[in-house]
């Protein structure tokens, strides 16, 4: 998958309460969740973000709660991909399971500032800061998880393989 968009830069340990505050968890409607995406970090984010934009963040992105509402809100807000130095593990699983492309890179986030144009090739694991003319290699995605992405998420993977459907 090749993606290109305007970058939004965030710091370290962005928790799921900042991605989607719990006061909005009384719904799982993705359009409703998208309206409040990153609200406590930047109240204007949902209004400013454009379809295809890319989030870049420091370490431990998505820490805290298991709420799948977090990647759902990000995806529904139009964000095409999240790049971070590392992800909290439940967020990492959730993103693959529900089909939000994410990439881990130790170096790329430091080079990216809000407003930079960033291009990503998820198959090759390549991140390019087009604005600054810098290229980075993302940490490889395990083959099994590539399979999840190719199938379109965990449940589609299960449906395709037919395991345990009763």
């Amino acid at each position: 998958m090749k993606l290109k968009g305007n970058a939004w830069k965030f710091g370290a340990d962005v928790d799921t309460d900042r991605i989607i505050p719990a006061r909005y968890l009384n719904t799982s409607d993705s359009a409703e969740l998208a309206k409040h995406c990153m609200e406590d970090e930047d109240p204007a984010f949902a209004a400013k973000v454009r379809s295809g934009d890319i989030i870049a963040a420091d370490k431990n992105f998505g820490c805290g709660s298991s709420r799948e509402h977090a990647p759902i809100a990000i995806k529904a807000a139009g964000v095409s991909c999240v790049i971070a130095k590392s992800f909290a593990r439940i967020f990492y699983r959730n993103a693959f399971n529900m089909g939000l492309p994410i990439l881990e890179s130790e170096d790329a986030p430091d080079s990216i500032a809000t407003g930079d144009i960033v291009a990503v090739d998820t198959a090759l694991g390549e991140i390019t800061n087009v604005t600054k003319g810098l290229r980075f290699k993302a940490r490889p995605i395990p083959p099994f998880m590539q399979g999840l992405v190719a199938a379109g998420g965990l449940l589609e993977f299960i449906k395709k393989t037919g395991v345990g459907l009763n």
Partner: protein, 425 residues
Amino acid sequence: MSPKIRPLTITEKILARHAGVKEVTPGELINAEVDIALGNDVTAPIAIHEFKRIGAKKVFNRNKVVLVPDHFTPNKDIKSANQCKILHDFAKEQKLTHYYEGGEVGVEHALLPEKGVVVPGDLVIGADSHTCTYGGLGAFSTGVGSTDLAAAMITGRLWFKVPETMRFVFKGRLNKWVGGKDLILHVIGEIGVDGALYRAMEFTGPAIDNLGMDSRLAMCNMAIEAGAKSGIIAPDKITRAYVAGRAERPYKFYSSDEGAQYCETLEYDCLEIEPKVAMPHLPSNTKNISEVGKITIDQVVIGSCTNGRLEDLAVAARILKGKKTAKNCRLIIIPATPFIYAQAMKKGWFDIFLKAGAVISPPTCGPCLGGHMGVLAAGERAVATTNRNFIGRMGDVKSEVYLTNPAVAAATAVKGRIAHPDEVV
């Protein structure tokens, strides 16, 4: 002769058993059987939606899919009520044996061990990050998302990456007023909120051997706040006494082999650990209570899946007996389950709490995640026995949460500022 198996950690043994293999290695991806798959009123609606969307008709085992609407219950608004109804209807349709509502529901991670639904040696997944609590019983348990829960509800299995294990050895005896909460806050303060990322945390040592079950559950509960996949304590005679008369199913005690491999071992002398306070806005932002200084507090919350159990309410009652909460400081006490609620009443603690000026809430997650039953206004500060103090966690984005053990929380309510229990008792 079969080849000799390398020494394994307790976590590796439980995972291997559930994957149907003799041994597993950190980093390996496995597909393992799940003993309990858990969801709540925030996460299960998405899982149930996905379950239906993919065309599934029946859960893999109606005794093993557990639904606990505890976050926004008693239903706080119409949207929450609609979410809860999805669980209610699904539980009825699927004839789930472990569905709780009304006067039977409690905070999930207090309720399930108490009722013996989760037992030692289990592999448990839950669409709630604090599912790691059950490590206190010697089970492997980990938080997942709603799609994972849907997959487990359908197939009874889930994929896992076998984690490396970090070992934490606690030596010596606990100081007065120090509990499991302080030990885990101390660890998180040392290693950071991603200090155990993707790893299992194994707590051991003489201080753990003497630690009560409520404190063990509190420690494993907060493993996620260090980024860990799971936390675990090897079961022993304290575990045996706890599960006796509760366990719904046969259970198995696992323990780590001599020579098992740890990616890191950290040792702590408990004599050096005093009651801790996690300052805003991260659980790792810890200080010793003696270093906190004068911080006035508007609200104290004693409850949650971390510290809403009997041991926690007992210490709060001990401190609050004959005392009043400070003027301008609200105290909210939330017994985590109906059983704990009834016990606290029977033991006379409700009298103590009410005379002190506390509000006693029905069991709920409520204010812990800023849901209801005690949400903070802009500029307000709370001390809470809960597990997270992220920005806006308990209410307004300009409010603050300080995490402590129940003794410090109770003393704080009396003084109206963060206080050491010795100042009150």
